[in-house]
Amino acid sequence: MPGVVRLSIDSDLNQVEFIARAVRSLCDNLLGREDAEAVELAVVEAMNNIIKHGYRGRRGEAVDVNVTLTRSEVEVEVVDHATPIPERIVKGGEPLAFDFDATDVAGLPEGGMGLTLIRMSMDEVDYVSRPGENRLRMVKRIAAS
């Protein structure tokens, strides 16, 4: 029987760590430490993006996180009712965020790393945007033991 917990915070960056902690505790028995940390990073990046870009820092809106735990995977779905991620960015193909010249300090990226980190941290990522609702679904598979 899968575990299903719905979590929700206000669109406030200060609240994101609480979701992070709760999601970590839900994953901890199922995933190893490294995989649980990867899920935490992906969830935090997704929520930060929604709050910063989707709601443009506007508080008082809800960001919802649905966590489903099964024997084989942890699924985290982040739901918002804000501006969606622009389609060209979603469809952006392989990300080049970390393909920078390490010797060119002035040219180092200070941002634009979040979506790439989400893709690298999870096994499956998909994004469905409908009028008034965006759902980012992220799956981490449980390593067979």
Partner: protein, 112 residues
């Protein structure tokens, strides 16, 4: 965001006392670091041994510090472990900031 400063010759070691450098804290962290750089501390060791989570905004703030220092000095990272070390590796920022296990090792690399 609590930062703890210790001077070692012309190098300032800044230990982050919070367990997270995330998007909520990154602006304050960056302001506090830039303030030190602008006071002339251009050789810095950032001690992350008490930090167990950094997100891309926190990492971006660390990169900003390096840019602010520019060719005048250097910034070395010490004590990054677990998810924090992993973030530097994933983003390939470990090519920019070699990760030092201890503050002592980092001090050697940043000394003028």
């Amino acid at each position: 965001m609590t930062l703890n400063d210790t001077a070692h010759g012309d190098v300032l070691v800044v230990r982050v006392e919070d367990s997270r450098i995330d998007a909520a804290r990154a602006p304050e962290f960056k302001t506090a670091m830039i303030e030190r750089i602008d006071r002339g501390h251009v050789r810095l060791v950032l001690d992350l041994s008490k930090v167990d989570f950094v997100d891309s905004s926190g990492l971006g703030a660390i990169v900003s510090c390096l840019k602010r220092i520019g060719p005048r000095g250097n910034l070395a990272v010490a004590g990054a472990k677990g998810a924090v070390a992993k973030l530097f590796a994933l983003t390939r920022m470990d090519r920019v900031f070699p990760l030092h296990a201890s503050v002592d090792d980092a001090l050697k690399s940043v000394a003028g």
